[in-house]
Protein backbone atom coordinates (compact mmCIF):
# COMPACT_ATOMS: atom_id res chain seq x y z
CA UNK A 1 0.00 0.00 0.00
CA UNK A 2 1.72 3.18 -1.10
CA UNK A 3 2.29 5.90 1.40
CA UNK A 4 1.22 9.26 0.13
CA UNK A 5 4.16 11.61 0.84
CA UNK A 6 6.69 10.04 -1.53
CA UNK A 7 4.27 10.09 -4.40
CA UNK A 8 3.26 13.67 -3.72
CA UNK A 9 6.86 14.86 -3.46
CA UNK A 10 7.48 13.60 -6.96
CA UNK A 11 4.50 15.53 -8.25
CA UNK A 12 5.85 18.59 -6.48
CA UNK A 13 9.23 18.28 -8.23
CA UNK A 14 7.70 18.16 -11.70
CA UNK A 15 5.30 21.00 -10.92
CA UNK A 16 8.17 23.05 -9.51
CA UNK A 17 10.25 22.48 -12.62
CA UNK A 18 7.31 23.47 -14.77
CA UNK A 19 6.79 26.72 -12.93
CA UNK A 20 10.52 27.44 -13.10
CA UNK A 21 10.53 26.84 -16.83
CA UNK A 22 7.56 29.14 -17.29
CA UNK A 23 8.91 31.94 -15.12
CA UNK A 24 12.67 31.70 -15.67
CA UNK A 25 12.81 30.18 -19.11
CA UNK A 26 14.00 26.83 -20.28
CA UNK A 27 17.49 25.42 -19.99
CA UNK A 28 17.64 24.67 -23.67
CA UNK A 29 18.44 27.05 -26.49
CA UNK A 30 16.64 27.15 -29.82
CA UNK A 31 19.63 26.04 -31.79
CA UNK A 32 19.62 27.58 -35.24
CA UNK A 33 18.29 30.85 -33.85
CA UNK A 34 20.51 31.17 -30.82
CA UNK A 35 23.85 29.50 -30.28
CA UNK A 36 25.86 28.73 -27.23
CA UNK A 37 29.46 29.79 -27.39
CA UNK A 38 31.76 26.89 -26.77
CA UNK A 39 34.58 27.35 -24.25
CA UNK A 40 37.81 28.85 -25.55
CA UNK A 41 39.62 25.57 -25.33
CA UNK A 42 36.88 23.62 -27.07
CA UNK A 43 38.31 21.19 -29.55
CA UNK A 44 36.00 21.85 -32.45
CA UNK A 45 38.15 21.64 -35.51
CA UNK A 46 41.84 21.77 -36.36
CA UNK A 47 42.95 24.90 -38.18
CA UNK A 48 46.17 25.16 -40.14
CA UNK A 49 48.44 28.17 -40.35
CA UNK A 50 50.03 27.23 -43.63
CA UNK A 51 52.87 29.71 -43.45
CA UNK A 52 54.24 28.08 -40.32
CA UNK A 53 54.12 24.54 -41.60
CA UNK A 54 57.43 23.10 -42.66
CA UNK A 55 55.95 19.74 -43.64
CA UNK A 56 58.06 18.05 -41.04
CA UNK A 57 55.56 15.18 -40.88
CA UNK A 58 55.54 15.07 -37.09
CA UNK A 59 51.78 15.46 -36.86
CA UNK A 60 51.11 12.87 -39.52
CA UNK A 61 53.39 10.42 -37.73
CA UNK A 62 51.99 10.97 -34.28
CA UNK A 63 48.38 10.75 -35.38
CA UNK A 64 46.84 7.64 -33.80
CA UNK A 65 44.32 7.31 -36.59
CA UNK A 66 46.54 8.05 -39.54
CA UNK A 67 44.17 10.70 -40.74
CA UNK A 68 46.61 13.46 -41.69
CA UNK A 69 48.03 13.37 -45.18
CA UNK A 70 50.94 15.64 -46.02
CA UNK A 71 52.87 16.07 -49.22
CA UNK A 72 55.58 18.59 -49.79
CA UNK A 73 58.59 19.39 -51.86
CA UNK A 74 61.74 21.38 -51.36
CA UNK A 75 62.40 24.56 -53.19
CA UNK A 76 64.72 27.52 -53.06
CA UNK A 77 63.58 30.65 -51.34
CA UNK A 78 65.22 34.07 -51.59
CA UNK A 79 67.77 34.64 -48.85
CA UNK A 80 66.76 36.35 -45.66
CA UNK A 81 69.54 38.86 -45.70
CA UNK A 82 70.72 40.58 -48.79
CA UNK A 83 73.71 38.83 -50.22
CA UNK A 84 73.06 35.59 -48.40
CA UNK A 85 72.74 32.18 -49.91
CA UNK A 86 69.28 31.15 -51.16
CA UNK A 87 67.59 28.99 -48.53
CA UNK A 88 66.13 25.60 -49.07
CA UNK A 89 62.57 25.47 -47.69
CA UNK A 90 59.88 22.86 -47.64
CA UNK A 91 56.85 23.84 -49.63
CA UNK A 92 53.58 22.29 -48.54
CA UNK A 93 51.65 20.76 -51.42
CA UNK A 94 48.96 18.93 -49.62
CA UNK A 95 47.71 18.98 -46.05
CA UNK A 96 44.51 17.01 -45.64
CA UNK A 97 42.79 15.96 -42.46
CA UNK A 98 40.15 13.30 -42.72
CA UNK A 99 37.64 14.38 -40.10
CA UNK A 100 35.74 11.16 -40.60
CA UNK A 101 38.68 9.37 -39.01
CA UNK A 102 39.89 12.06 -36.64
CA UNK A 103 39.40 11.28 -32.95
CA UNK A 104 39.90 14.89 -31.89
CA UNK A 105 42.63 13.82 -29.52
CA UNK A 106 44.75 16.90 -30.17
CA UNK A 107 48.06 15.09 -30.34
CA UNK A 108 48.93 16.69 -33.69
CA UNK A 109 48.31 20.18 -32.33
CA UNK A 110 50.48 19.39 -29.37
CA UNK A 111 53.43 17.91 -31.21
CA UNK A 112 53.58 20.62 -33.85
CA UNK A 113 56.91 22.32 -33.17
CA UNK A 114 56.27 25.34 -35.40
CA UNK A 115 52.83 26.48 -34.22
CA UNK A 116 51.11 25.62 -37.44
CA UNK A 117 48.16 23.69 -36.04
CA UNK A 118 45.54 25.17 -33.72
CA UNK A 119 42.25 24.17 -32.21
CA UNK A 120 39.24 26.21 -33.20
CA UNK A 121 35.91 25.94 -31.37
CA UNK A 122 34.11 25.99 -34.71
CA UNK A 123 31.73 23.05 -34.87
CA UNK A 124 29.36 23.60 -37.77
CA UNK A 125 31.04 21.70 -40.52
CA UNK A 126 28.95 18.58 -40.89
CA UNK A 127 28.65 17.10 -44.34
CA UNK A 128 26.02 14.89 -45.86
CA UNK A 129 28.62 12.54 -47.29
CA UNK A 130 31.38 11.00 -45.26
CA UNK A 131 33.93 11.52 -48.02
CA UNK A 132 33.34 15.25 -47.91
CA UNK A 133 34.81 15.35 -44.42
CA UNK A 134 38.31 15.17 -45.88
CA UNK A 135 39.30 18.82 -45.72
CA UNK A 136 42.26 20.27 -47.57
CA UNK A 137 44.66 22.98 -46.48
CA UNK A 138 42.59 25.80 -47.95
CA UNK A 139 39.62 24.84 -45.81
CA UNK A 140 41.82 24.28 -42.78
CA UNK A 141 43.33 27.69 -43.36
CA UNK A 142 39.92 29.36 -43.37
CA UNK A 143 39.36 28.11 -39.86
CA UNK A 144 42.41 30.00 -38.68
CA UNK A 145 40.22 33.10 -38.34
CA UNK A 146 38.10 31.39 -35.71
CA UNK A 147 41.02 30.41 -33.50
CA UNK A 148 40.75 32.28 -30.18
CA UNK A 149 43.53 33.50 -27.95
CA UNK A 150 44.58 31.04 -25.28
CA UNK A 151 42.70 31.74 -22.02
CA UNK A 152 44.17 33.22 -18.90
CA UNK A 153 45.11 30.63 -16.34
CA UNK A 154 43.77 30.10 -12.87
CA UNK A 155 45.72 31.51 -9.95
CA UNK A 156 48.73 29.47 -8.93
CA UNK A 157 49.45 28.22 -12.41
CA UNK A 158 52.97 27.96 -13.67
CA UNK A 159 53.21 29.03 -17.29
CA UNK A 160 56.80 27.87 -17.65
CA UNK A 161 57.59 25.24 -20.18
CA UNK A 162 54.32 25.49 -22.02
CA UNK A 163 54.15 26.72 -25.54
Amino acid sequence: MPKIPGLFKGLGVTLGTMSRTVTEGANTVQYPHEKETPPIRARGVIALHEGNCTSCMLCARSCPDWCIYIEGHKELAPPRRAGGKPRQVNKLDRFDIDYALCMYCGICVEVCPFDALFWSPEYEYSEPRIADLLHDKAKLGEWMQTVPEAPELEAGADRKGKK
Binding site: R41, P64, M103, Y104, G106, A155, G156, A157
Partner: protein, 390 residues
Protein backbone atom coordinates in the same frame (compact mmCIF):
# COMPACT_ATOMS: atom_id res chain seq x y z
CA UNK B 1 -8.12 -36.50 -52.68
CA UNK B 2 -5.09 -34.81 -53.98
CA UNK B 3 -1.77 -35.74 -52.64
CA UNK B 4 -0.51 -33.49 -49.95
CA UNK B 5 2.85 -31.90 -50.57
CA UNK B 6 5.62 -32.68 -48.16
CA UNK B 7 5.36 -29.29 -46.63
CA UNK B 8 1.63 -29.56 -46.05
CA UNK B 9 2.05 -33.00 -44.66
CA UNK B 10 4.70 -31.87 -42.26
CA UNK B 11 2.66 -28.96 -41.05
CA UNK B 12 -0.33 -31.24 -40.64
CA UNK B 13 1.70 -33.63 -38.54
CA UNK B 14 3.04 -30.76 -36.53
CA UNK B 15 -0.44 -29.43 -35.93
CA UNK B 16 -1.64 -32.85 -34.84
CA UNK B 17 1.28 -33.21 -32.50
CA UNK B 18 0.65 -29.79 -31.05
CA UNK B 19 -3.02 -30.59 -30.48
CA UNK B 20 -2.14 -33.86 -28.88
CA UNK B 21 0.25 -32.16 -26.58
CA UNK B 22 -2.31 -29.55 -25.54
CA UNK B 23 -4.78 -32.30 -24.89
CA UNK B 24 -2.23 -34.25 -22.95
CA UNK B 25 -1.42 -31.50 -20.54
CA UNK B 26 -1.96 -27.79 -20.52
CA UNK B 27 1.72 -27.11 -20.66
CA UNK B 28 2.80 -23.71 -21.84
CA UNK B 29 5.60 -23.50 -24.29
CA UNK B 30 8.61 -21.38 -23.51
CA UNK B 31 9.51 -18.39 -25.55
CA UNK B 32 12.92 -17.02 -26.37
CA UNK B 33 12.99 -13.27 -26.21
CA UNK B 34 15.89 -11.39 -27.66
CA UNK B 35 16.32 -8.21 -25.73
CA UNK B 36 18.59 -6.25 -27.96
CA UNK B 37 21.01 -5.74 -29.66
CA UNK B 38 18.83 -2.77 -30.47
CA UNK B 39 16.77 -2.12 -27.40
CA UNK B 40 16.29 1.03 -25.34
CA UNK B 41 17.31 -0.69 -22.13
CA UNK B 42 20.65 -1.94 -23.32
CA UNK B 43 22.48 1.41 -23.62
CA UNK B 44 23.93 0.45 -26.93
CA UNK B 45 24.18 -2.95 -28.43
CA UNK B 46 24.06 -5.49 -25.68
CA UNK B 47 21.90 -8.46 -26.46
CA UNK B 48 20.20 -10.49 -23.80
CA UNK B 49 18.82 -13.83 -24.75
CA UNK B 50 16.06 -14.63 -22.34
CA UNK B 51 14.13 -17.85 -22.18
CA UNK B 52 10.71 -16.93 -20.86
CA UNK B 53 7.89 -18.86 -19.31
CA UNK B 54 5.09 -16.36 -19.53
CA UNK B 55 6.76 -13.26 -18.21
CA UNK B 56 9.14 -15.14 -16.00
CA UNK B 57 12.71 -15.68 -17.02
CA UNK B 58 13.85 -19.28 -17.01
CA UNK B 59 17.37 -18.32 -17.90
CA UNK B 60 18.90 -15.30 -19.48
CA UNK B 61 22.31 -14.57 -20.75
CA UNK B 62 23.91 -11.50 -22.21
CA UNK B 63 25.58 -11.88 -25.54
CA UNK B 64 28.35 -9.35 -25.89
CA UNK B 65 30.59 -8.37 -28.71
CA UNK B 66 28.37 -6.23 -30.88
CA UNK B 67 30.62 -3.32 -30.11
CA UNK B 68 33.93 -5.00 -29.52
CA UNK B 69 36.58 -2.62 -30.77
CA UNK B 70 39.62 -4.63 -29.81
CA UNK B 71 41.26 -1.95 -27.73
CA UNK B 72 43.71 -4.38 -26.21
CA UNK B 73 45.00 -5.16 -29.69
CA UNK B 74 44.92 -1.53 -30.78
CA UNK B 75 47.06 -0.44 -27.85
CA UNK B 76 49.83 -2.70 -29.09
CA UNK B 77 50.29 -0.64 -32.25
CA UNK B 78 50.16 2.73 -30.57
CA UNK B 79 52.55 4.80 -28.55
CA UNK B 80 51.83 5.63 -24.95
CA UNK B 81 50.45 9.12 -25.64
CA UNK B 82 48.28 7.73 -28.39
CA UNK B 83 46.79 5.12 -26.10
CA UNK B 84 45.39 7.85 -23.88
CA UNK B 85 43.21 9.05 -26.72
CA UNK B 86 42.01 5.51 -27.16
CA UNK B 87 41.21 4.51 -23.63
CA UNK B 88 38.99 7.44 -22.84
CA UNK B 89 36.51 5.91 -25.22
CA UNK B 90 36.06 2.82 -23.09
CA UNK B 91 33.56 4.26 -20.66
CA UNK B 92 32.51 7.19 -22.75
CA UNK B 93 30.49 8.89 -20.06
CA UNK B 94 33.31 9.21 -17.59
CA UNK B 95 36.18 9.32 -20.00
CA UNK B 96 38.69 11.32 -18.02
CA UNK B 97 38.56 8.69 -15.32
CA UNK B 98 39.66 6.09 -17.87
CA UNK B 99 42.84 7.93 -18.69
CA UNK B 100 44.02 8.27 -15.13
CA UNK B 101 44.83 4.65 -14.27
CA UNK B 102 46.61 4.14 -17.57
CA UNK B 103 48.70 7.23 -17.10
CA UNK B 104 49.42 6.24 -13.51
CA UNK B 105 50.55 2.81 -14.66
CA UNK B 106 52.89 4.35 -17.21
CA UNK B 107 54.20 6.79 -14.63
CA UNK B 108 54.74 3.93 -12.22
CA UNK B 109 56.81 2.09 -14.78
CA UNK B 110 58.82 5.21 -15.49
CA UNK B 111 59.22 5.93 -11.81
CA UNK B 112 57.91 9.47 -11.98
CA UNK B 113 55.08 11.27 -10.30
CA UNK B 114 53.00 14.18 -11.44
CA UNK B 115 53.44 17.45 -9.55
CA UNK B 116 51.08 18.13 -6.65
CA UNK B 117 49.03 20.62 -8.63
CA UNK B 118 48.52 18.13 -11.43
CA UNK B 119 47.50 15.43 -8.99
CA UNK B 120 45.00 17.79 -7.48
CA UNK B 121 43.46 18.82 -10.78
CA UNK B 122 43.44 15.23 -11.91
CA UNK B 123 41.42 14.28 -8.89
CA UNK B 124 38.98 17.13 -9.46
CA UNK B 125 38.45 16.18 -13.06
CA UNK B 126 38.19 12.55 -12.08
CA UNK B 127 35.40 13.34 -9.67
CA UNK B 128 33.72 15.61 -12.19
CA UNK B 129 33.63 12.79 -14.69
CA UNK B 130 32.16 10.58 -11.99
CA UNK B 131 29.45 13.15 -11.38
CA UNK B 132 28.75 13.48 -15.09
CA UNK B 133 28.59 9.74 -15.46
CA UNK B 134 26.54 8.81 -12.42
CA UNK B 135 24.12 11.72 -12.68
CA UNK B 136 23.19 10.42 -16.09
CA UNK B 137 22.72 7.03 -14.52
CA UNK B 138 20.30 8.51 -12.02
CA UNK B 139 18.25 10.02 -14.80
CA UNK B 140 18.45 6.98 -16.99
CA UNK B 141 17.29 4.85 -14.11
CA UNK B 142 13.98 6.70 -14.30
CA UNK B 143 13.59 5.96 -17.99
CA UNK B 144 14.31 2.30 -17.48
CA UNK B 145 11.60 2.16 -14.85
CA UNK B 146 9.13 4.17 -16.88
CA UNK B 147 9.52 7.68 -15.50
CA UNK B 148 10.45 10.01 -18.30
CA UNK B 149 11.20 13.23 -16.49
CA UNK B 150 14.34 12.37 -14.47
CA UNK B 151 16.46 11.80 -17.55
CA UNK B 152 15.87 15.32 -18.74
CA UNK B 153 16.87 16.67 -15.37
CA UNK B 154 19.98 14.54 -15.55
CA UNK B 155 20.86 15.78 -19.01
CA UNK B 156 20.18 19.33 -17.93
CA UNK B 157 22.50 19.23 -14.95
CA UNK B 158 25.11 16.98 -16.49
CA UNK B 159 25.49 19.66 -19.11
CA UNK B 160 26.95 22.02 -16.51
CA UNK B 161 29.54 19.43 -15.56
CA UNK B 162 30.37 18.73 -19.18
CA UNK B 163 30.82 22.43 -19.75
CA UNK B 164 33.29 22.46 -16.90
CA UNK B 165 35.19 19.52 -18.32
CA UNK B 166 35.18 21.08 -21.75
CA UNK B 167 36.26 24.43 -20.36
CA UNK B 168 39.27 22.88 -18.70
CA UNK B 169 40.24 20.18 -21.18
CA UNK B 170 38.68 21.17 -24.49
CA UNK B 171 36.83 17.92 -24.91
CA UNK B 172 33.31 17.34 -23.68
CA UNK B 173 33.41 13.60 -23.79
CA UNK B 174 36.95 12.66 -24.63
CA UNK B 175 39.22 15.05 -22.77
CA UNK B 176 42.55 13.39 -23.54
CA UNK B 177 43.95 15.82 -21.04
CA UNK B 178 46.06 13.55 -18.92
CA UNK B 179 49.69 13.24 -19.87
CA UNK B 180 52.46 11.06 -18.60
CA UNK B 181 54.01 13.29 -15.99
CA UNK B 182 51.13 15.64 -15.45
CA UNK B 183 48.44 17.41 -17.38
CA UNK B 184 48.30 19.00 -20.77
CA UNK B 185 47.52 22.43 -19.44
CA UNK B 186 46.49 24.34 -16.38
CA UNK B 187 42.96 25.38 -15.55
CA UNK B 188 41.61 28.47 -17.30
CA UNK B 189 40.83 31.50 -15.17
CA UNK B 190 37.38 31.61 -13.61
CA UNK B 191 37.01 27.87 -13.72
CA UNK B 192 37.07 27.38 -9.97
CA UNK B 193 34.29 29.88 -9.34
CA UNK B 194 32.14 28.22 -11.92
CA UNK B 195 32.82 24.81 -10.44
CA UNK B 196 31.62 26.05 -7.09
CA UNK B 197 28.28 27.12 -8.62
CA UNK B 198 27.85 23.93 -10.56
CA UNK B 199 28.40 21.79 -7.50
CA UNK B 200 25.51 23.60 -5.82
CA UNK B 201 23.32 22.84 -8.80
CA UNK B 202 24.35 19.22 -8.73
CA UNK B 203 23.43 18.88 -5.08
CA UNK B 204 20.03 20.32 -5.86
CA UNK B 205 19.74 17.82 -8.67
CA UNK B 206 20.46 15.02 -6.22
CA UNK B 207 17.72 16.28 -3.94
CA UNK B 208 15.30 16.50 -6.83
CA UNK B 209 16.09 12.99 -7.97
CA UNK B 210 15.70 11.73 -4.44
CA UNK B 211 12.25 13.32 -4.19
CA UNK B 212 11.16 12.39 -7.66
CA UNK B 213 12.47 8.88 -7.83
CA UNK B 214 13.97 7.42 -4.70
CA UNK B 215 11.20 8.57 -2.42
CA UNK B 216 8.56 7.31 -4.79
CA UNK B 217 6.84 4.22 -3.47
CA UNK B 218 6.38 2.82 -6.93
CA UNK B 219 10.11 3.08 -7.52
CA UNK B 220 10.81 1.40 -4.23
CA UNK B 221 8.41 -1.42 -4.92
CA UNK B 222 10.08 -1.92 -8.28
CA UNK B 223 13.62 -2.02 -6.94
CA UNK B 224 13.57 -3.27 -3.37
CA UNK B 225 14.33 -6.94 -3.13
CA UNK B 226 14.98 -7.21 -6.87
CA UNK B 227 18.28 -8.66 -7.98
CA UNK B 228 19.79 -9.32 -4.59
CA UNK B 229 23.51 -10.01 -4.74
CA UNK B 230 24.96 -11.54 -1.59
CA UNK B 231 28.32 -10.38 -0.37
CA UNK B 232 30.24 -13.54 -1.22
CA UNK B 233 28.84 -13.82 -4.70
CA UNK B 234 29.65 -10.21 -5.39
CA UNK B 235 33.25 -10.78 -4.43
CA UNK B 236 33.55 -13.99 -6.41
CA UNK B 237 32.33 -12.31 -9.54
CA UNK B 238 34.62 -9.38 -8.97
CA UNK B 239 31.87 -6.82 -8.81
CA UNK B 240 33.12 -3.40 -8.03
CA UNK B 241 32.06 0.11 -7.40
CA UNK B 242 28.61 0.79 -6.07
CA UNK B 243 27.51 -2.75 -6.94
CA UNK B 244 29.99 -4.14 -4.47
CA UNK B 245 29.37 -1.52 -1.81
CA UNK B 246 25.62 -2.06 -2.06
CA UNK B 247 26.27 -5.65 -1.06
CA UNK B 248 27.84 -4.51 2.16
CA UNK B 249 31.52 -4.68 1.19
CA UNK B 250 33.28 -1.59 2.38
CA UNK B 251 35.81 -1.29 -0.42
CA UNK B 252 36.71 1.83 -2.28
CA UNK B 253 39.96 2.07 -4.18
CA UNK B 254 40.03 5.80 -3.68
CA UNK B 255 40.45 5.22 0.02
CA UNK B 256 41.97 1.76 0.24
CA UNK B 257 45.08 2.16 -1.86
CA UNK B 258 47.69 4.85 -2.02
CA UNK B 259 47.90 6.48 -5.39
CA UNK B 260 49.47 9.79 -6.29
CA UNK B 261 46.06 11.43 -6.29
CA UNK B 262 44.45 13.92 -3.94
CA UNK B 263 41.53 11.97 -2.55
CA UNK B 264 43.16 11.71 0.85
CA UNK B 265 43.29 15.50 1.02
CA UNK B 266 39.52 15.76 1.21
CA UNK B 267 37.10 14.66 3.86
CA UNK B 268 34.52 12.28 2.48
CA UNK B 269 32.74 9.07 3.24
CA UNK B 270 32.37 5.71 1.54
CA UNK B 271 28.73 4.73 1.48
CA UNK B 272 27.67 1.14 1.79
CA UNK B 273 24.34 -0.57 1.98
CA UNK B 274 23.56 -3.98 3.34
CA UNK B 275 20.62 -4.99 1.19
CA UNK B 276 22.44 -5.82 -2.02
CA UNK B 277 19.32 -5.23 -4.09
CA UNK B 278 18.69 -2.85 -6.96
CA UNK B 279 17.52 -0.10 -4.67
CA UNK B 280 20.69 -0.31 -2.62
CA UNK B 281 22.87 -0.04 -5.71
CA UNK B 282 21.01 3.01 -6.98
CA UNK B 283 20.97 4.60 -3.56
CA UNK B 284 24.69 4.13 -3.06
CA UNK B 285 25.31 5.81 -6.40
CA UNK B 286 23.12 8.73 -5.44
CA UNK B 287 25.13 9.18 -2.27
CA UNK B 288 28.35 8.89 -4.23
CA UNK B 289 27.40 11.81 -6.43
CA UNK B 290 26.84 13.84 -3.30
CA UNK B 291 30.19 12.76 -1.90
CA UNK B 292 31.87 13.62 -5.16
CA UNK B 293 30.46 17.12 -5.13
CA UNK B 294 31.85 17.43 -1.62
CA UNK B 295 35.26 16.20 -2.71
CA UNK B 296 35.32 18.67 -5.59
CA UNK B 297 34.19 21.49 -3.35
CA UNK B 298 37.01 20.83 -0.90
CA UNK B 299 39.70 20.24 -3.49
CA UNK B 300 39.06 23.35 -5.56
CA UNK B 301 39.78 25.43 -2.49
CA UNK B 302 43.15 23.84 -1.85
CA UNK B 303 44.82 23.52 -5.23
CA UNK B 304 48.55 23.99 -4.60
CA UNK B 305 50.46 26.39 -6.80
CA UNK B 306 53.12 25.13 -9.14
CA UNK B 307 53.58 23.48 -12.49
CA UNK B 308 51.20 20.87 -13.85
CA UNK B 309 53.83 18.96 -15.77
CA UNK B 310 56.97 17.34 -14.55
CA UNK B 311 59.95 16.98 -16.79
CA UNK B 312 59.53 14.15 -19.24
CA UNK B 313 61.37 13.50 -22.49
CA UNK B 314 59.64 14.53 -25.68
CA UNK B 315 59.69 11.01 -27.00
CA UNK B 316 58.36 8.87 -24.21
CA UNK B 317 59.87 5.45 -23.85
CA UNK B 318 58.62 3.47 -20.92
CA UNK B 319 61.17 1.17 -19.30
CA UNK B 320 60.65 -2.53 -19.29
CA UNK B 321 58.36 -3.89 -16.63
CA UNK B 322 54.83 -4.71 -15.63
CA UNK B 323 52.48 -2.54 -13.66
CA UNK B 324 48.94 -2.80 -12.45
CA UNK B 325 47.02 0.31 -11.52
CA UNK B 326 43.33 0.39 -10.79
CA UNK B 327 41.18 3.27 -9.73
CA UNK B 328 37.65 3.59 -8.49
CA UNK B 329 35.97 4.73 -11.66
CA UNK B 330 32.35 5.79 -11.94
CA UNK B 331 31.40 2.28 -12.96
CA UNK B 332 33.68 0.51 -10.55
CA UNK B 333 37.22 -0.73 -10.53
CA UNK B 334 38.97 0.16 -13.74
CA UNK B 335 42.45 -1.20 -14.03
CA UNK B 336 45.21 -1.49 -16.58
CA UNK B 337 47.80 -4.20 -16.52
CA UNK B 338 50.51 -2.62 -18.61
CA UNK B 339 53.43 -4.63 -19.89
CA UNK B 340 56.20 -2.56 -21.41
CA UNK B 341 59.27 -3.76 -23.24
CA UNK B 342 61.04 -0.46 -23.19
CA UNK B 343 59.47 0.56 -26.46
CA UNK B 344 57.49 3.59 -27.56
CA UNK B 345 54.26 1.74 -27.04
CA UNK B 346 53.03 -0.83 -24.57
CA UNK B 347 53.70 -4.48 -25.26
CA UNK B 348 50.40 -5.62 -23.85
CA UNK B 349 47.65 -3.80 -22.02
CA UNK B 350 45.02 -5.81 -20.21
CA UNK B 351 42.07 -3.54 -19.64
CA UNK B 352 40.14 -4.66 -16.62
CA UNK B 353 36.93 -2.76 -17.06
CA UNK B 354 34.32 -2.58 -14.38
CA UNK B 355 31.27 -3.36 -16.46
CA UNK B 356 32.69 -6.60 -17.79
CA UNK B 357 32.88 -8.04 -14.30
CA UNK B 358 29.67 -6.36 -13.22
CA UNK B 359 27.76 -7.87 -16.10
CA UNK B 360 29.26 -11.31 -15.75
CA UNK B 361 26.95 -11.86 -12.81
CA UNK B 362 23.80 -11.39 -14.88
CA UNK B 363 23.26 -15.03 -15.93
CA UNK B 364 23.24 -15.87 -12.24
CA UNK B 365 21.14 -12.91 -11.29
CA UNK B 366 18.45 -13.02 -13.96
CA UNK B 367 17.15 -16.49 -13.16
CA UNK B 368 13.49 -16.46 -12.19
CA UNK B 369 12.83 -12.75 -12.41
CA UNK B 370 10.14 -11.09 -14.50
CA UNK B 371 10.78 -9.29 -17.76
CA UNK B 372 10.46 -5.82 -16.20
CA UNK B 373 12.95 -6.89 -13.55
CA UNK B 374 15.52 -7.64 -16.22
CA UNK B 375 15.41 -3.99 -17.06
CA UNK B 376 15.56 -2.95 -13.42
CA UNK B 377 18.52 -5.19 -12.73
CA UNK B 378 20.41 -4.13 -15.83
CA UNK B 379 19.76 -0.51 -15.01
CA UNK B 380 20.87 -0.89 -11.42
CA UNK B 381 24.03 -2.83 -12.30
CA UNK B 382 24.80 0.12 -14.53
CA UNK B 383 26.96 -0.91 -17.40
CA UNK B 384 28.25 1.05 -20.31
CA UNK B 385 28.58 -1.01 -23.38
CA UNK B 386 31.99 0.30 -24.33
CA UNK B 387 33.12 -0.79 -20.92
CA UNK B 388 31.96 -4.36 -21.44
CA UNK B 389 33.13 -4.83 -24.98
CA UNK B 390 36.17 -2.57 -24.92
Amino acid sequence: MTMLTDRQQLSYIAAQAADARVNLELETEGMTLNIGPQHPATHGTLRIIARLDGEQVVWAEPSCGYMHRGYEKLTEVRTFPQVTALVNRIDWLGSFANEVPFILAAEKLMGIEAPARAQHIRTILFELSRIANVSLFLGDLGVQLGAITPVFMAFRDREYVLNLIEGATGGRFHPNFDRIGGLKDDLPAGWIDETRNVMKKLRRFCDEIEDLLFGNEIFQSRTRGIGVIPRDVAMQYGLSGANLRASGVDWDLRRDQSLPMAWNKADWKVWTHNDGDSFARCWVRLQEVRESTKIVDQLIETIPAGPVMTKVPRIIKVPEGEAWVATENPLGEMGYYVVSKGDLGPFRVKIRSASFNNMSITPWLLKGVYVPDIITILASLYFILGDIDR
